[in-house]
Amino acid sequence: MTLPNQQVLSPKLYTRLFTTDHRIIGLQYLALALFSVTIGTLLSLVMRIHLVWPTWPLPLHGLILPEDYLAVVTLHGTIMLFFVLTTAPQAGFGNLILPSQLGARHMAFPVLNALSFWTTAAALITLLSSPLVPNGAAISGWTAYPPLSAVAAAGPGQGLGMDLWLVSISLFALASTASSINILTTIIRNRCPGLTWDRLPLTVWGWFTAALLSLIAFSVLLAALLLLFCDRHCGTGFFVPTGDLVNGVLHRGANGSPLLWLHLFWFFGHPEVYIAILPGMGLTSMLLANFSRRRPFAYRTMIYTTLLIGLLGLLVWGHHMFVSGLNPFASSAFSVSSIAIAIPATAKVLSWLATIWRAKPQYTTAMLFSLGFVSLFIAGGLTGPILAQPILDQYLNNTLFVVAHFHLIMAMAGVFGLFAATYYWFPQISAALGKPNLILSESLGRWHFWITILAAYAVFLPMHLSGLAGEPRHYAQLTTGSLTPTTALLARTIPANLHTTYSAFVLAAAQLLFFYNLVRTLLRGTPAPENPWQSTTLEWHPQFTNPFFPLPASDEETEKIIVYRDPCHYHAPPSGTIFIPQWMPDASIDPKPE
């Protein structure tokens, strides 16, 4: 008997490590993201501690100097944005789940897939080695604004550290492009018979749109990185203005503009945040529907809004540049397009609320995290139209208000999407590890959810207030130094900062529950029934969930995976709720009367 995931069960380490099996690659991506998110979280705790106790010496390092703080900010942002929020939802769960949701046995290009993963791993290693070089890691933030990033003398870490950052992100851009080529081709070409475009689950639409955005955005980033590299090493000046004085050195020859970098970077950067969140949106739609035993409200509209959010995401990059000297007329145009995103986003929220309205949903942990996603999406989204107005943004752009906005809507909502995915798809994860149908403990999961959501709000809601009070972001130290009106003003934000720091510790500690749950279930979990959530989508087809399911001997049997209907078909006859999976032929549900 040939097992479909023979590579998974192969005892050879080499075969298991450099496999082209998409599920193992998905797990490798998820492991990479889990490792990265741990480091990113620890870095954020270092920042939080430093902000309230500036004299606290970091073990093995000593006092945190302002440049150290900026390096930590840069690493935190880069790791979280690229190696967690881009990697885990799109490449991690994309590889693990996407092919089986399409009824496909492989990704379109398995070798390219493995290459993308190992390139991503190389990018992460390059980035993590940057704090170890002389002068440390780059300090110019994950956005790497020039001239700070273009001139090596601009600060500590802007020499070799910045070069390593450039190399790392270039590798990451290449890997993401390759990965999105793979995802797009798989979705277009590898669907099983009967799986028409309008029968695709909304998760697949999320991955599809995010892959389209990666394809367009990452190559622009790559071009921008190349130009920045030339500015640093080949004597050009694309991003350095004439007569720029950096650390006492006058840069004459160049005739560039930092604004140009901002245009190129944010043309990538804004789609990037949608790449992070779109798979989560698709999953939320499907999970709310599944646990409410209903079809997602306005299914077809949800497909269009996903695509529309993607399209608008490409047209709004200027709203990151309102305070950077952008032409005010351009600001108005970008303001209009940014506020327009509220329309498809609101349509999504309406659909989510309408789907669960009076549905008496089943509150599993995955459902709770999906509801948390909706909550965070609304809470973070409401400040979006505020920041999209140039006048208000003038005041708020460099304050913690923006930090609160994007952490709620992108970071926290994104992570909640990942948690929902992990709790929901854990049987798939365990199946890929050779132990089919394990589910994470629901009671631990509930504790994990409630502590996480309360702590997440406790961390980020007060930031709105301290931001409105004028607390700037990227500042290593707020109140020490000479007594000026500013320090007097910021002294008022100290209680809020203390609160945020304590909450951040609670938030981080709650994740230990999650780790414990993962480890305990993998070691000692008992198998659940097949398709434990009674889902209708194809990844729960017995052929995909059971690694010991015999591979069909002939082509004819492979074709037995045929899709007959849209996802999310639930009936509520008097005898109780039944669900009709996509792969179930009509005849087996209601046999025609003789």
Binding site: F109, S219, G235, G256, S554
Partner: protein, 256 residues
Amino acid sequence: MPATVTPNRVEPDRRHHLEDHDNGSGRRPPTDKRTGGGGDNDNWDRSRGNYGPRERLRRARMGVFFAIASDLMFFVAIVSTFFVNQSTGHINVYNQYVNDWTPTAVPRILWFNTLVLLISSLTMEMARRQMFREHDAMDEWLGLGKPITRRTIPWLIATIILGLAFLAGQWTAWRQLAAQHVFFRTNQSSHFFYLITGVHAVHLFLGIAILIAAFTGLYLSRQLETRQIIVDSASWYWHAMGLLWIFLFALLAFCQ
């Protein structure tokens, strides 16, 4: 000592690709031709959605298409930077707004290089078309020699030579500019001249590597379908780079 359990496999596992219409007894011939009988069970062209002998080829083409699309965005970013930089001035010490863009005169040899690249696209297309002659494909599938490889190789070699000639021509152009003391770091316009031609040359260099891989693949790969895919993908990439060069050359020659 623990007992060693050895699975007793009667038959060695055959590698077969179910999605590619291979049920272990050999694949269908990689042609569009309707073969097989007219009966129900032996008709190779019955409608099966995305399953069929051409499926792998179409999948590979789509991948190449997306790769080219993303590469196009890379060049779009660089070309838009070109226009922005070209129209950007600065304020000098006398408080005047000046724009000191000095166009780089395009070396004459680039016209010749463009012609070479265009011809190489033609030879590449000839190589590609040789791969899909159905008569030969059936011959080869039946084991009657390798007519397809034999016909394709000369065109492929011609393309590789023309590609190398183009790269040599670009090298000469850079040398000519350097002789006029126009280097990468000389002025804004020269930054872009070297950057655009250089990045395109890197792409062509990669293209030649792919062509050499295709050449090797023609000898090494036993599957006709695989050989078709390698040459087909290489040729679309080559065409895209040729087309892109025409735009880039027009930009450098006429839009400075």
